[in-house]
């Protein structure tokens, strides 16, 4: 079963490398959002520096939401999802493998790009480690919670927007704790707030590692029968 699990992740990674797994598009969207923010709020560098951690997190969320569509849709359309559902690997592990693949192909590139884009928003270099740590702790949650939305809307025509709307309420705790952890280092919050937020963020991620695949498998079963 472990071999099947890693084989599924490997398949997703190879597909992403050959066809384009959405990582490039997600980073491009990240760049686009970060580019329009100063156009919207004005080029005042002090203001940008203050809102940079929050805006980077919002852009990360939106970019992650964009790529949820490709988690199950392609497999549903060519029948591979039915084969996976009938196979020996339990659907929960299938969903977990898909979410892991999404994190590796989309989440990681976004997290790597974040500090560079932060420079565009005048983010202080001293905040980079805290920001990257918070995003690394939160990005798996984005994939594992997003897989629920993707599973609920599989097979619906143009269901990508609906998946994003369904998942957004679950992303909000990740956003709140992630921004708190990133800003605490920057703005001299009382000692321990950064660590607290990071710990809560880690808790949300760990919980999503379990609940995400279970809920996604239930949703897949509901949609495939």
């Amino acid at each position: 079963m472990t071999r099947a699990f890693f084989a599924l992740i490997g398949r997703d990674l190879r597909l992403a490398a050959r066809i384009g797994g959405g990582g490039g598009m997600a980073v491009f969207f990240f760049l686009a959002v970060v580019a329009v923010v100063p156009l919207g709020v004005g080029p005042d560098l002090n203001l940008l520096a203050r809102i940079a951690p929050g805006m980077l997190w919002v852009a990360l969320l939106l970019s992650s939401l964009l790529t949820l569509d490709r988690l199950f849709q392609a497999d549903y359309e060519d029948g591979s999802l039915d084969l996976l559902a009938m196979g020996r690997l339990p659907l929960e592990f299938v969903a977990a493998a898909k979410a892991t693949g999404h994190f590796l192909t989309t989440g990681l590139p976004l997290v790597v790009a974040a500090p560079l884009l932060g420079l565009m928003l005048n983010l202080e270099v001293s905040a980079f480690p805290a920001l990257m740590l918070a995003m690394l702790a939160g990005a798996p949650a984005l994939s594992f919670l997003g897989v629920i939305g993707a599973a609920l809307t599989v097979g619906i025509r143009r269901g990508g927007l609906l998946a994003s709307l369904l998942v957004l309420p679950f992303y909000i705790p990740v956003l709140i704790f992630g921004v708190s952890a990133a800003r605490a280092a920057l703005f001299g919050f009382p000692d321990g707030v950064a660590g607290q937020s990071l710990a809560l963020l880690g808790a949300v991620t760990l919980a999503s590692l379990v609940f995400g695949p279970v809920a996604a498998a239930a949703a897949l079963r509901a949609n495939l029968r």
Partner: protein, 255 residues
């Protein structure tokens, strides 16, 4: 001994799984339920608007509480009912359970919206702001999004059985938000007033204000249940119309 009492509880519950039986029973219940709801609401509004004292600090604006607080309670009650019905639908496959959840969603969403709007109307004179991003308001806003997402998922999937199962999963995943809303004023430092009615040490609200509040809450609850029965009856009729249409389309295709 009548035939019904010799059945076990689960058998009696299964007896109501028959939609025709549910239609008959709900038809008999609707008129009394309407009477009780409107009576309680009338009594509650009378006490709320005329026969209860103004607050010593807030004056007459405190009377918004008699709509705002029961609406918020019903918003959480609605989602809990939706989640419980979804659990019954997924586990026991009770045929009316997912209809109950689907019918409860718009009513609960309306009460959530009412709570948010009356809260804003109350917040402007009291706090000086229409909206603040504190834990209680944000979590109730998320509750509203969850209701809307649930209704959107039902609308997006064409086949009713598939939509029912997917929506049931969504309702259960979102159920985590209800305790968060309930305890948001306990866990976080918020501008919103902490719990003053349902507390371990008993209510801290004055009895003259507790009575209209309780009357309005009971009235809203009966109103919710009445509307729920009306919507469930409409859903069953909608199912029948759909089945008739499908049968006619199939028969027409054979000609």
């Amino acid at each position: 001994m009548s035939p019904m009492t010799s059945l076990s509880a689960s058998q009696r519950l299964q007896a109501f799984a028959n939609p025709a039986r549910f239609m008959a029973l709900s038809a008999r219940l609707l008129a009394p339920l309407w009477a009780v709801s409107l009576g309680l609401l009338a009594a509650g509004l009378y006490y709320a608007l005329f026969a209860s004292p103004p607050d010593y600090q807030q004056g007459e604006t405190v009377r918004i509480m008699y709509v705002h607080v029961p609406a918020a309670w019903l918003a959480m009650f609605g989602y809990s009912l939706m989640a419980a019905a979804s659990a019954v639908a997924l586990i026991f496959r009770h045929p009316l359970a997912d209809l109950c959840a689907k019918s409860a969603a718009p009513i609960g969403a309306a009460f959530t919206f009412l709570a948010l709007v009356t809260g804003a109307l109350w917040g402007k004179p009291m706090w000086g702001a229409w909206w603040v991003w504190d834990a209680r308001l944000t979590s109730v806003l998320i509750l509203f999004f969850l209701y809307l997402g649930y209704m959107a998922l039902w609308a997006a999937i064409e086949e009713p059985a598939r939509a029912a199962r997917a929506a049931a999963v969504l309702a259960l995943v979102g159920a985590i938000n209800v305790p968060i809303v309930r305890y948001s004023v306990v866990w976080w430092n918020t501008l919103h007033q902490p719990a003053s009615v349902f507390r371990m040490d008993g209510p801290t609200i004055a009895p003259e204000m507790l009575l209209p509040l309780a009357l309005m809450a009971l009235g809203f609850t009966f109103f919710f249940v009445t509307l729920l029965l009306v919507r469930m009856r409409a859903e069953i009729l909608r199912h029948r119309v759909r089945a008739l249409r499908l049968a006619r389309a199939a028969a027409g295709a054979e000609d």
